[in-house]
């Protein structure tokens, strides 16, 4: 494992995931989310729980990077984006199940799935572009 590259890839992926989440889910989808206001915390409550939002993004960035570093290793941005899309499909499956059990609108469901695909494809591409395995030994 190339820890220096790993750490850089993880930090950049975290910054991207957090910024994208703020723009996509927090700003662009704000109106859609407000169609079902009873599902969400109030602004004050959300502020009190903000560290959980940061922690969640840190965990996702760290383990997406770990997944790439352990099992894809090389291949660059393309291989990273492919891994990201596959991970997004796992999330999309969970989104569909959530839609069936929570009173989400189809607009929210669609926004979450599209957001997952864009977010993880780009995050995977970033990780793939940055992370390189330790240089191979030559004989």
């Amino acid at each position: 494992m190339n820890w220096k590259k790993f750490f850089i890839a993880f930090i950049v992926a975290f910054v991207f995931l957090f910024a994208f989440g703020f723009l996509w889910y927090g700003k662009l989808m704000h109106g859609a989310h407000q169609e079902v206001p009873t599902l969400w915390r109030t602004e004050a409550e959300f502020g009190n729980h903000f560290p959980w939002l940061v922690l969640g993004h840190l965990v996702m960035a760290f383990f997406l990077t770990m997944l790439y570093a352990q099992f894809v290793r090389a291949g660059g941005a393309g291989a990273g984006a492919t891994l990201g899309i596959l991970v997004a499909l796992v999330y999309a499956g969970a989104d569909l199940i959530t839609f069936a059990v929570q009173p989400l609108t189809t607009k929210i469901l669609g926004g979450w799935i599209v957001g997952d695909l864009i977010q993880f494809a780009i995050a995977g591409a970033i990780i793939g572009a940055i992370y390189k395995p330790s240089s191979l030994k030559t004989t």
Partner: protein, 137 residues
């Protein structure tokens, strides 16, 4: 390809029955404590096909990730993939906890069930799926 399809079907069947047993039966009372965040039962039953499609998508994505990078590692690699994917899901649950008023107890119990689900799915997929042998020139 044959093993891919068998692994997908076996994983889907397990995820479906585990979801029913754990979330539908064992966690029934805990879920009731947060009833205001869920659809009424009749409404959920009307959308049941989305649960099935979601679980099938989850199983398919699991097998695709395993086949693209973990294949050859057997059950141990399947379990490692399952653990990593569930930790990613725990990350998403932290975000859900920040934005939705779910009780901590419910999210912890759902995560425990998620770990069991993903580890067993990893065992199933790792045991069934084998990469195609390299072709001789």
């Amino acid at each position: 390809m044959k093993r891919f399809i068998v692994a997908f079907i076996a994983a889907f069947i397990f995820i479906f029955f585990w979801g029913w047993l754990y979330n539908g039966v064992l966690l029934k009372d805990v879920l009731t404590e947060a009833q205001s965040l869920f659809r009424p039962r009749e409404e959920t039953m009307g959308l049941f096909h989305w649960i099935v499609i979601g679980q099938a998508g989850l199983a398919l994505a699991f097998v695709m990730i395993y086949a693209s990078g973990f294949a050859g590692g057997g059950i141990a690699a399947g379990v490692r993939l399952g653990i990593m994917l569930e930790i990613l899901a725990v990350g998403a649950r932290c975000i859900i906890y920040a934005t939705q008023p779910f009780p901590v107890k419910l999210l912890v119990l759902v995560s425990i069930g998620g770990f069991i689900e993903m580890i067993v799915t990893g065992v199933i997929v790792g045991a069934i799926y084998k990469p195609a042998p390299p072709r001789m020139p």
